[in-house]
C-alpha cells in the first residue's frame, strides 16, 4: 500500500573504499555534521538550503521558503518513526558534499560560488551516494510542496496551486493528522458497542 520508493540500506554507505556504514565508522569525522536536538547546526542548514535551492530554484512556481522545506526537513530528522539510518544518511550527505567540495575546489562548500555549487551537485550525482542523497532530498521537497498545509508546509497551498492539484476531502485536522493518529495504537480496550467508538 505504501508507495514510498523502496530503498536499500546498503545505499546509506558512501562507498568510496569504506565498507562500513558511516554511522559506525565516522571516517569523515572532521566535517561530520551533528544534530543539536534534531536541528541542524547553522552552517549545515546553510549548506543544505543551498543544495535545495539548486534542486528546486525559485522559478517557475514556489521556492523552498514558500513550501517551508526547512521545517519539513527538521520534522523529518526528528520523527521517531523515520528510520534513524535514513535520517543519518541525510546528515551524512551534508558532510560528504562538504568533503567533496574540499577535494574538488579546495574550499568549504559555504564559500563556493553558485556555479561551483552547481558543478559539485552535478559531480556527486555521478556517485551512488550522491544520487541517493539528492533523490531523498527531492522526496523531502515534494512532501513539503504537496502534503497538507496542516503540517506547517505548502504555505497557503502554494504547491498545490502551482501544480493545479485538487486536494481530497475531508482534509486532515490536528486530531487525525500524523503523528497524533498513532495514539490509537496504544489503546488497551475492548469494544462491545458501536457507541464506544
Amino acid at each position: 500500500m505504501k508507495n514510498r520508493v523502496p530503498f536499500n540500506r546498503r545505499q546509506f554507505i558512501k562507498g568510496v573504499g569504506a565498507t562500513a556504514v558511516l554511522l559506525q565508522l565516522p571516517v569523515w569525522q572532521s566535517c561530520k555534521p551533528t544534530i543539536y536536538k534534531g536541528i541542524l547546526s547553522a552552517d549545515n542548514q546553510f549548506v543544505i538550503n543551498n543544495v535545495l535551492q539548486i534542486l528546486f530554484p525559485s522559478k517557475p512556481g514556489p521556492d523552498i521558503y514558500d513550501i517551508k522545506v526547512e521545517k519539513h526537513l527538521n520534522n523529518y530528522l526528528t520523527d521517531p518513526l523515520i528510520d534513524p539510518d535514513e535520517q543519518q544518511f541525510i546528515i551524512n550527505g551534508i558532510g560528504w558534499i562538504r568533503e567533496t567540495a574540499q577535494e574538488k575546489f579546495e574550499n568549504d562548500f559555504l564559500l563556493l560560488s553558485r556555479k561551483q555549487q552547481e558543478k559539485l551537485i552535478k559531480f556527486i550525482l555521478s556517485k551512488p551516494w550522491g544520487e541517493n542523497w539528492v533523490s531523498k532530498l527531492l522526496t523531502i521537497l515534494f512532501e513539503a510542496m504537496l502534503l497538507d498545509p496542516v503540517y506547517g508546509i505548502n504555505t497557503h497551498e502554494i504547491g498545490w496551486r502551482f501544480l493545479h492539484h485538487v486536494p481530497g476531502k475531508p482534509r486532515p485536522e490536528n486530531y487525525n493528522k500524523y503523528p497524533e493518529i498513532l495514539q490509537r495504537k496504544n489503546e488497551n480496550i475492548i469494544i462491545t458497542d458501536l457507541k464506544q467508538l
Binding site: M1, K2, N3, R4, P6, N8, R9, R10, I54, L55, F56, P57, K59, P60, G61, D79, L81, I82, D83, I121, L125, E131, V134, S135, L138, T139, F142, E143, L146, L147, D148, V150, Y151, F162, L163, H165, V166, P167, G168, K169, P170, R171, P172, E173, N176, K177, Y178, P179, I181, L182, R184, K185, N186, E187, N188, I189, I190, I191, T192, L194
Partner: protein
C-alpha cells in the same frame, strides 16, 4: 468475570475481509464472538485524505523496524537471496487495523468464473506448477457471491459476454457509479478492435444503505479510508452490524502469537499480546484465523504444540506452501489535454468519477507455441492515482534514468501535472502456484515481541509472463486507439503485496492440502481459516469478493456445527 475465564463460541483472529462475514453471521445468529485484531480501531472520522498518513508514513501498517518480514528473491546469479523488508523498504504489510486491508482497498470486485474452480481438469498440467482443482465448484459459491453483493454492497451492471458468470439474480443491487468520459472512449476503441468491454463492479455504494452513505467521489479511494462508509470494508459493512447484536466483542491492538492445543488436536486458547505488551489469552469452542495469507501461515507455523511439532495443522508439511498473488503486469499511456478541445479536456480532467472498465475477452487464449487452449486473464483500466507526492516521485527520473532537478524538474512537474492525464491498465493472470512461492519462518530475524518473522519466497512461473505478455499487447492497442501517447507495458513476476492468497490450500486430500472443503483444518478439530489462504489457484482477477463469499459460506458451516 475475567475475559480469560469466559469461553466464547468463536474466537476470530483478524478482522479484515476474511474475518468479517464470520463475525457478522455468527453474531447475528446469537453466538458469542470475540475478535482479536492486531491493529488499532480507526473510526470513520479518523480517516482523511491525507497522503502523509495514508502512504508516506507507517500509520496503517507496522513500522518495518518493529515488524519486518523477509523476502526471498532470485538474485542475478540465479540464487535465492533473503533480505529483510527493513533493509529494502519492500513492505508486504497492507492494513493492520480493525477491518484490515479492506479499509484501504479500491474495491475492484470480480467473481471467479466456473473455469477458475477447475483449472487443472480444464487445461491440464503445466510443468513446474502445482495446479489443483478446487474441492467445490462455482455453484457452491454463487449464493454467497450474491450475498456479498447485497450485504457488503456491490455496484455494477450485468451485461452479456462470452465469459459472463452464471448468476442467481438478474443484476447488481446497486447501480453503477458515475464514470469519466474516458470510459466511453475505451468502449469505442475496444469495439473498433472487435473487443468487448465490461463495466467493472465495485464494492462501493452508489446509493445510501442503512447508516452508510453513497460514494461522494472523493478521488482518493485506494490506500485511503472512506469518509462516507460507501466502501465495503469489513469494518463498516459487517463488524459495525455485528456490534449492534450485543454478541460481539472486538479487542484491538491484540496480536495473536500462539494457538494452544489440548493434546487432542483441539485448539483451546489463542494467546495474544495486548496494547501494553502483556500476554493474554482467550478461550473458545471454535477458532477462525483470517490474518491475511502470509501472517495466517506464519501464525500456524509459530503455533508449535505437542501434537503439532512443525506448527499447527502442519503434520503433513503443507502450511505456507503454494502462496499465490494476483498480478501480471501494468501499462499505460498519456492523454494530453492539448490534443482535445477545452471542454473535452475539462471532462477528462474531472476528478473523482471512475473509469470502471475491464476486458475479459482474453480469459482463454491460444498458446502461440503449442496451439493449445490456455487460461488467459483480465485487463482493467484506471487512472493514475491522484496522490501528488507519489506522482511527483515517479517523475524524478528522466528516460535515461538520470535524476531531474532544478528548473528542468519544475517545468517537467508542471507539464506532467497540468498537461495530461495518465490512463493505466492492470493485467491479472492466474499466478501459478509453484514450489518457489511459499511462507516459512525466518530463523534469525525476530519482531519487536521476539517472535520469528515470516519469510516469503516470491518465485513465479514463466508461464505467467507469457500470458501477461499476450494480453498486454492487446491492452496497448486499445490505449493507442484512444489516442494515448507514450503507450507502454511492463510485464513482471514481481508479486503485489496487497493481493495475497494460498498458503493453506483446501482440498480433499490431507497429504496435499491443509484445509478440507469447508475450510476446517484436516488435522485440527475446531480450526477454520477464512482469508484467501484456502485458494489452490486464484483466478485471473482480484481476490476479495471471493474471500468475502467463501467466508460467508464457512460461517454457515460453523453455524451448523456449533
Amino acid at each position: 468475570m475475567k475475559l480469560s475465564d469466559k469461553i466464547f463460541d468463536v474466537c476470530v483472529v483478524g478482522s479484515g475481509a476474511g474475518a468479517g462475514p464470520v463475525i457478522y453471521e455468527l453474531s447475528k445468529a446469537g453466538y458469542k464472538v470475540v475478535v482479536l485484531e492486531k491493529g488499532p480501531w480507526y473510526r470513520t472520522k479518523d480517516f482523511s485524505k491525507d497522503e502523509m498518513t495514508a502512504t508516506r508514513r507507517s500509520v496503517y501498517t507496522p513500522n518495518l523496524k518493529d515488524e519486518p518480514q523477509v523476502i526471498e528473491d532470485l538474485n542475478e546469479q540465479g540464487n535465492w537471496e533473503a533480505r529483510s523488508t527493513y533493509e529494502t523498504g519492500r513492505d508486504f504489510w497492507n492494513g493492520n487495523c480493525v477491518g484490515g486491508s479492506s479499509n484501504f482497498m479500491s474495491g475492484y470486485f470480480a467473481r471467479f468464473k466456473p473455469v477458475d474452480f477447475k483449472l487443472l481438469s480444464t487445461y491440464g498440467e503445466i510443468k513446474g506448477a502445482n495446479i489443483a482443482d478446487w474441492p467445490i465448484d462455482y455453484y457452491d459459491l454463487e449464493p454467497y457471491y450474491e450475498k456479498v453483493e447485497r450485504i457488503v454492497g456491490i455496484s455494477g451492471k450485468v451485461i452479456k459476454h462470452r465469459f459472463a458468470e452464471p448468476r442467481s439474480t438478474p443484476d447488481f443491487p446497486y447501480p453503477p457509479l458515475q464514470e469519466n468520459i474516458v470510459s466511453k472512449w475505451i468502449d469505442q476503441a475496444a469495439k473498433s478492435l472487435g473487443v468487448q468491454t465490461i463495466p467493472m463492479p465495485r464494492a462501493i455504494l452508489s446509493q445510501k444503505k442503512g447508516d452508510r452513505n453513497a460514494c461522494y467521489y472523493s478521488n482518493f479511494c485506494g490506500s485511503y479510508g472512506c469518509s462516507s462508509d460507501a466502501k465495503g470494508s469489513s469494518r463498516v459493512s459487517l463488524i459495525h452490524e455485528a456490534l449492534k447484536t450485543g454478541n460481539c466483542a472486538v479487542i484491538p491492538n491484540a496480536k495473536v502469537y500462539h494457538l494452544e492445543t489440548n493434546g487432542k488436536f483441539t485448539v483451546k486458547k489463542a494467546w495474544y499480546y495486548n496494547a501494553i505488551g502483556q500476554k493474554q489469552y482467550i478461550k473458545a469452542k471454535i477458532f477462525v484465523v483470517a490474518a491475511q495469507a502470509v501472517e495466517t501461515s506464519r501464525l500456524l507455523l509459530m503455533s508449535k504444540n505437542k501434537e503439532f511439532e512443525q506448527g499447527l495443522a502442519n503434520n503433513n508439511k503443507q502450511v505456507g506452501k503454494n502462496l499465490i498473488f494476483s498480478a501480471g503486469g501494468v501499462g499505460g499511456g498519456d492523454l494530453y489535454y492539448d490534443d482535445l478541445s477545452p471542454d473535452i479536456a475539462r471532462e477528462l480532467a474531472r476528478p473523482g468519477v471512475f473509469v470502471n472498465r475491464t476486458v475479459q475477452d482474453y480469459y482463454e487464449l491460444t498458446d502461440p507455441d503449442t496451439g493449445k487452449k490456455i487460461k488467459g486473464g483480465t485487463v482493467d483500466f484506471l487512472f493514475e492515482h491522484a496522490n501528488p507526492v507519489s506522482k511527483a516521485i515517479r517523475q524524478k527520473w528522466n528516460d535515461k534514468g538520470n535524476l531531474r532537478y532544478g528548473e528542468t524538474l519544475k517545468k517537467h512537474l508542471k507539464n506532467y501535472f497540468t498537461g495530461l492525464r495518465k490512463l493505466k491498465f492492470e493485467i491479472f493472470v492466474d499466478w501459478l502456484p509453484t514450489d518457489n512461492c511459499f511462507v516459512s519462518l525466518d530463523c534469525n530475524i525476530k519482531d519487536k515481541w521476539n517472535d520469528p518473522v515470516a519469510r516469503i519466497r516470491v518465485g513465479y512461473h514463466p508461464h505467467d509472463l507469457k500470458v501477461a505478455g499476450i494480453i498486454s499487447e492487446k491492452a496497448k492497442q486499445i490505449l493507442s486507439k484512444i489516442g494515448a501517447r507514450n503507450v507502454y507495458a511492463g510485464i513482471s513476476g514481481a508479486p503485489p503485496n496487497n493481493l495475497q492468497a494460498g498458503g493453506c490450500r483446501f482440498g480433499n486430500d490431507p497429504a496435499t492440502s491443509v484445509l478440507d472443503k469447508y475450510c476446517k483444518a484436516h488435522e485440527v478439530n475446531n480450526l477454520y481459516i477464512t482469508d484467501g489462504s484456502f485458494m489452490p489457484t486464484g483466478g485471473s482477477l482480484t481476490y476479495t469478493w471471493t474471500i468475502y463469499a467463501n467466508s460467508f459460506r464457512v460461517a454457515d458451516v460453523i453455524k451448523s456445527v456449533l
